[in-house]
């Protein structure tokens, strides 16, 4: 039992160890290769990092819940883009324009509702048809993206409102709104997953669905709620990001689902469900963003960054597998 705790500790701590490693590496490597004069581990730089990791981070939190449930949601990137369009476009509707700045909360509400409804659609299909979430959300990913293009063709949708930008760039001790939202979302969902019946049931459903059914947990409605949650969070992510930027391209949010999944898996959540944590996902999000920023800091281009992240993901999962093997005498599968 003791070694069980030990290997758990290693597994849960691994992502943080990895982050520390990254920080040290980039700090030192930065001294030699960086073009900028500033140190990597600079407070402003770290705050910026937190802000930049918010869009994917918020989605990854929702993805953690979905994946603990044993599902997956590939449609979040498209949902993100569609909600951004709804938010920005709605602000130029005539009745909204007449409201002045009061249009802002209404636009947010529209966007969040859109996200929740899109999630609801996914959830209802998964529940009622029993089709695997991978397939359902693969379909809705294409479908929702189709809606994005129907809205405004290949053209970007934009609406710049300076009040909205101010809100998006507002800060508390240097922590800007997107970062605050990310932290709050992570905290709330962490609380839900560890302290509430719904959260604990999510683990049970993902771990052994039959057992959950036998224990009279209503699996369908349970998963529906989680799909609504991730739709809502994808929308929230769009709201925090586009309130500041004011312009959305129809291709925005592409591959977001995969980045979110990468962060979740790096953070130790099992692909087959039943195990994982929000704290781990938070670490995973930060680790990826650190890699991107750090490699940029020492002058690597985007292609290299992706290659390195891919390699690290595989290495981490391999290590995880090794840690899970209980010893040489273990039964081979």
């Amino acid at each position: 039992m003791k070694s069980d705790n030990m290997s758990n500790l290693i597994k849960n701590g691994a992502i943080w160890g990895f982050i520390v490693l990254e920080l040290i590496f980039f700090q030192i490597a930065g001294e030699f290769w960086s073009l900028s004069e500033r140190a990597f581990m600079d407070l402003d730089n770290m705050l910026l990092l937190l802000k930049q990791s918010a869009p994917i981070g918020i989605i990854a939190v929702g993805m953690t819940v979905i994946m603990i449930n044993g599902n997956i949601d590939l449609s979040v990137g498209a949902t993100y883009a569609l909600c951004a369009i709804v938010m920005l476009d709605s602000m130029s509707w005539p009745f909204m324009e007449s409201l002045g700045d009061w249009a802002i909360p209404l636009a947010w509400l529209f966007a969040l509702l859109t996200g929740a409804v899109l999630g609801l659609i996914n959830g209802i299909i998964v529940w009622k048809t029993g089709v695997d979430a991978f397939i359902v959300t693969l379909g809705s990913m294409l479908g929702y993206r189709g809606l994005v293009f129907m809205y405004n063709g290949e053209n970007p949708t934009y609406h710049l409102n300076w009040t909205m930008v101010d809100i998006a760039e507002w800060d508390l001790f240097g922590v800007e709104t997107p970062a605050l939202v990310f932290l709050a979302v992570a905290l709330i969902v962490w609380f839900v997953m560890t302290r509430t019946v719904h959260g604990r049931n999510a683990y049970a459903v993902g771990n052994n669905r039959e057992a959950a059914v036998n224990a009279a947990i209503r699996v369908g409605p349970h998963m529906l709620i989680n799909f609504v949650l991730i739709g809502f969070l994808a929308a929230l992510s769009a709201v925090t990001f586009y309130s500041g930027s004011g312009s959305v391209n129809p291709n925005d949010g592409m591959l977001f689902e995969l980045w979110a999944i990468t962060a979740v898996v790096l953070g130790g959540t099992k692909l087959i469900g039943g195990a994982g944590s929000i704290v781990g996902t938070f670490g995973g999000v930060i680790a990826i963003q650190l890699l991107r920023k750090g490699l940029g800091h020492i002058g690597a281009d985007t292609a290299t960054v992706n290659l390195v992240i891919g390699l690290i993901l595989i290495a981490v999962l391999f290590l995880d597998r090794q840690l899970n093997v209980k010893g040489k005498e273990e039964l081979k599968v």
Binding site: V197, R200, A204, A216, I217, K332
Partner: protein, 503 residues
């Protein structure tokens, strides 16, 4: 027995599946405070009856009556709400969650806002665990428990609600003797609280130890209910299969050939130590011991599923290393595994494909799998082993346990092995098919196969083995020939008492 209101009554339940009448007018009355055994061969309809009771199937005819109120069960939720609790044979646990969360799965105690009341949860759980006298607490992760302890967690669930009726489906399948005692105490306790208990098991000795009445099903038909005190094993067996049970020792020996496999000083971590034995062609060697004695692990090592930490394996006098099941198969070692459904068969595939699975790579006509060759193999072993199935297209999952086991055995025989290892050959198999499997094992030895039988059932080991290896805590305590073995000295040996050796 005085007139009591039955807690649960089933009346004339009929359930048909396409082509099968799984239940044909079954009636059953469960009184408060009684332990009522439900017996029958596999495929007799016990599990179907339980599924009807649990609301997983709806009956075509007949009624379920709880407390003299006819009810329609819509699912496990409703059954539980009505005070009917199921303890499933197959573990139904979330291994990543704690013991407490598993016991209260689906009904975690709540505070405001849907928050889990952890303090209450832990207190309740520890109270139950104390009653069960187990060595783990509410916070232990279920995945880190042994199978037997996981079974205890499953049993603990029965104690969470004010149950009117508890249905135990083969609860002792993976329990050790000590744990069985605890389970029986729990049952007695429930009984004294006036709970009606339905107890499904194949193990006669348990049935006679703890039950008050026995109901028997055969081929979906209700065969009657008897008071346990008024009958004996033979009587029940006759009701179940219509013939007598053979509990004798194996007396005939076949002509022995050369040593097929020899093991010297084999060890594997702390699973087993310094194990040495040999098996000759034409011989059946039985491995007997308690759960956890290391028998299955030895079988798995021989089949290349575990790497031994010390010792050698010799086949036909040559030292061999077996790295993987592929190695083992190539050397003519076959394993009929303990967990038939999980490890031995692909349940969703048909009979033919399951049987030809290990050699399908060789059965090709050009680039395609040769249907004809596959069917030929299936037909051959179906006839040889008397596998009863409507045809090779039948999905294996729909066959009875005995026929499934024959498919697994047929699969390996068709590979023409030298050594056949059979782990728990008749677990979960009814009495009738059991003796068929036993005869089959004897016959295989007669044909010159070297056979290793791992079993937890003494009658089985006594019945099929030429020699019996008794194991205790990962060590071989003694090897018996079938002439010198008695029930007493065998039990002593597997309990770690070596005295028998001198005598």
């Amino acid at each position: 027995m005085t007139e009591k209101t039955p807690v649960l009554r089933l009346e004339g339940i009929v359930k048909t599946f396409p082509g099968v009448r799984a239940l044909d007018g079954v009636s059953l009355t469960l009184l408060p405070g009684e332990v009522h055994a439900l017996m029958g061969e596999n495929g007799a309809g016990k599990s179907t009856l339980m599924k009807v009771l649990g609301g997983i199937y709806q009956p075509d005819e007949g009624q379920i009556i709880v407390d003299e109120q006819p009810v329609v069960m819509s699912g496990p939720l409703e059954a539980k709400a009505k005070g009917i609790v199921f303890i499933h044979q197959e573990l139904s646990l979330a291994t990543e969650l704690s013991v407490a969360e598993n016991i209260y799965l689906g009904e975690l105690p709540r505070k405001r806002f849907g928050l889990v009341d952890w303090a209450q949860l832990e207190a309740n759980t520890n109270k139950i665990l104390k009653k069960l006298n187990v060595g783990f607490n509410a916070k232990t992760r279920v995945g880190s428990l042994s199978i037997a302890n996981q079974q205890m967690v499953e049993i603990a669930r029965a104690l969470t609600v004010d149950a009117k009726a508890v249905i135990f489906d083969e609860p002792t399948a993976s329990l050790t003797d000590a744990e069985k005692v605890v389970l029986f105490e729990v049952i007695a306790d429930l009984q004294s609280q006036g709970v009606g208990i339905a107890y499904i098991s194949h193990r006669m000795e348990e049935i006679f130890k703890i039950t008050d009445r026995i109901s028997v099903l055969r081929d979906g038909q209700y065969q009657g209910t008897v008071n346990t005190a008024d009958t004996d094993e033979e009587g029940v067996t006759q009701m179940m299969i219509g013939r007598k049970l053979d509990l004798s020792r194996n007396e005939s020996h076949h002509e022995l050939g050369e040593v097929a496999i020899e093991v010297r000083g084999l060890s594997c971590g702390n699973l087993y130590h310094d194990v040495s034995f040999e098996v000759r062609r034409g011989e059946v060697v039985g491995f007997y011991g308690l759960v956890g004695a290391g028998r299955t692990e030895i079988a798995e090592t021989l089949f290349g599923l575990r790497n031994p930490s010390a010792g050698t394996i010799l086949m036909n006098g040559e030292e061999v290393t077996i790295q993987s099941p592929a190695d083992a198969i190539a050397r003519g070692i076959s394993l009929v595994p303990e967990d038939r459904k999980g490890q031995g068969l692909v349940l969703g595939m048909n009979c033919r494909d399951n049987m030809t699975l290990p050699q399908v790579g060789d059965l090709t006509a050009g680039p395609f799998v040769s249907d004809g060759a596959e069917v030929a193999i299936f037909d051959q072993y179906r006839d040889k082993l008397d596998i009863r199935t409507p045809g090779w297209r039948q999905t294996v999952g729909n066959l009875s346990g005995g026929n499934q086991q024959k498919i697994v055995i047929g699969k390996w025989l068709s590979m023409h092995p030298n050594v056949l290892i059979v782990d728990e050959p008749t677990r979960g198999i009814d009495v009738g098919s059991k003796s068929e499997i036993h005869n089959l094992i004897r016959e295989l030895a007669a044909q010159g196969y070297a056979v290793i039988v791992v079993s937890s059932e003494m009658p089985e080991v006594l019945h099929v083995s030429d020699r019996i290896v008794a194991m205790y805590m990962g060590r071989i305590i003694r090897t018996f020939t079938s002439e010198e073995v008695t029930e007493d000295n065998l039990i002593q040996a597997i309990s770690g008492i070596e005295g028998g050796k001198v005598a």
